[in-house]
Amino acid sequence: MSLDNILNELFPVITESNKPFYDALGEGRLTANKCNECAHTFLPPANHCPNCLSDQVDWTALSGEGTVYSWVEYHRAYHVAFKDKIPYVVAIVQLKEGPRMISNIINYDSDFLKVGMPIQAVFTSGLGDVPIVQFKPIIGKEG
């Protein structure tokens, strides 16, 4: 397989309903869906609100502030493209506005990384130069 094929498996599958989310990431903005009927703010993107099933779903800008809900440090690569990246941290990020998402914690010190730690979004490029959003600890606010 060519490198492109190997990376293809990693890229998000872009659909009509999630395209604005990924387009916004490319512009350095983190967004989530917000339901016009019940105000539920949610990720991953969907064209129906999972709370009330309304299709009146809009977009809302997020602050990029959040806390670590949990995290895990990879010591084994599950994909050839991540072989030279271990160890790396994947976290469930609890965003201030309510939704949670999967992302990475970067610039971390594993002795201090813990559940509840404040973190801030950083807009970066993933493999294949695809825009992603990672998170870094907010210095001085650990704990």
């Binding site: 991953p44 895990v72 440090e73 994947v90």
Partner: protein, 378 residues
Amino acid sequence: MGSISEKYCIIGVGHTKFGKHPGRTTLEMNVEAIKNAIEDCGINKSEIDAVLCKYPTSNHSMMYSTQVAQAVGIVPKVSGVIDMGGATNINLIQYAITSMELGQCTTAVISFADNPLTGSRNAYTHPWGNDGLYGWFGTPPAYGMIAQRHMDLYGTKSEQLGAIAVAAHKHASLNPNAQSRKVISIEDHQNSKFIAKPLHLYDCCLVSDGGAAVIVTSLENARNLGIKNPVTILGLGQSHPSWDIELREEITVSGAKESGRMAFEMAGLRPQDMDFAQIYDCFSIVNLITLEDYGFCEKGEGGSFVENGRIELGGSLPVNTSGGLLSETGMPGLQLIIEGVRQLRGECGERQVPNARLGVVSNQGGVMTTHSTMILGR
């Protein structure tokens, strides 16, 4: 439908060798397991009118139960494949009982076989959802995420997870069927490499080829068939949290909480009535969280509960007396049901729980995505 508690039973259990089966198909291993289960209860194959299967996890195949039925020469009235990962087996038993209540069949075989050890493990290494660019792959890291939160919220220690692995390996050392019969210490656990920190190698289940089967019928039919030692199904439960772990209200609480409540209520029993527990332990943390969610201890106290030999043979709650997924076989769940049956029949030799009369078996799949519970008695 009234209560089915004490109306149905498991009459036969069988399996292949656990370990490597190079060159054998999953169908062939299903056939061997079913043959052994039929011989175990001594019934005629023609009694079986329902064939229910979990498809081989590492190699999905359509309408798999019809392939198994064909291979064992049965034209079933009721057949089906349920896909709830490691929770499937108990769900299939529930489907069998439901079909019997409807009068559609009388005796069902539930079987599973897979060969991820000598075959392909690719099915386990795809990215989770749309998050491949974040390196979000694999089953052990997802359980590591759950373990880390449990540790941070409740002070659970890696050494306490180690106590679970130590107990499983100790029990497997007394089990001639076990794939790994090596006794390990807490130090061995701590010194084993990180797979996905905080999980060490010894926190993770074995990878195994093999097949297993159980035969279910009504107690009334078991008597008619002259079965001497039926093991009674007293309670059943199931509950299934979300697919994406980040969408769960709290990842340190599993489907075991609701599933266990349902099963104990049906059985009219409490956790403290159990003589043993066979708990799905694809990872040590699952065992700990399931014991909490079933109510053997409070949420957050699982770490201290599993220490000091309490879950070992001779302790107050022997858990995974055959070695479980950590040390008997990594097969997704049927082996735990089989061990529950054997304990209640008093067939376990060196690893027998003295005078075992009641036990609970858990099955779960995905990343605590699915859960089912069965309470057995004699």
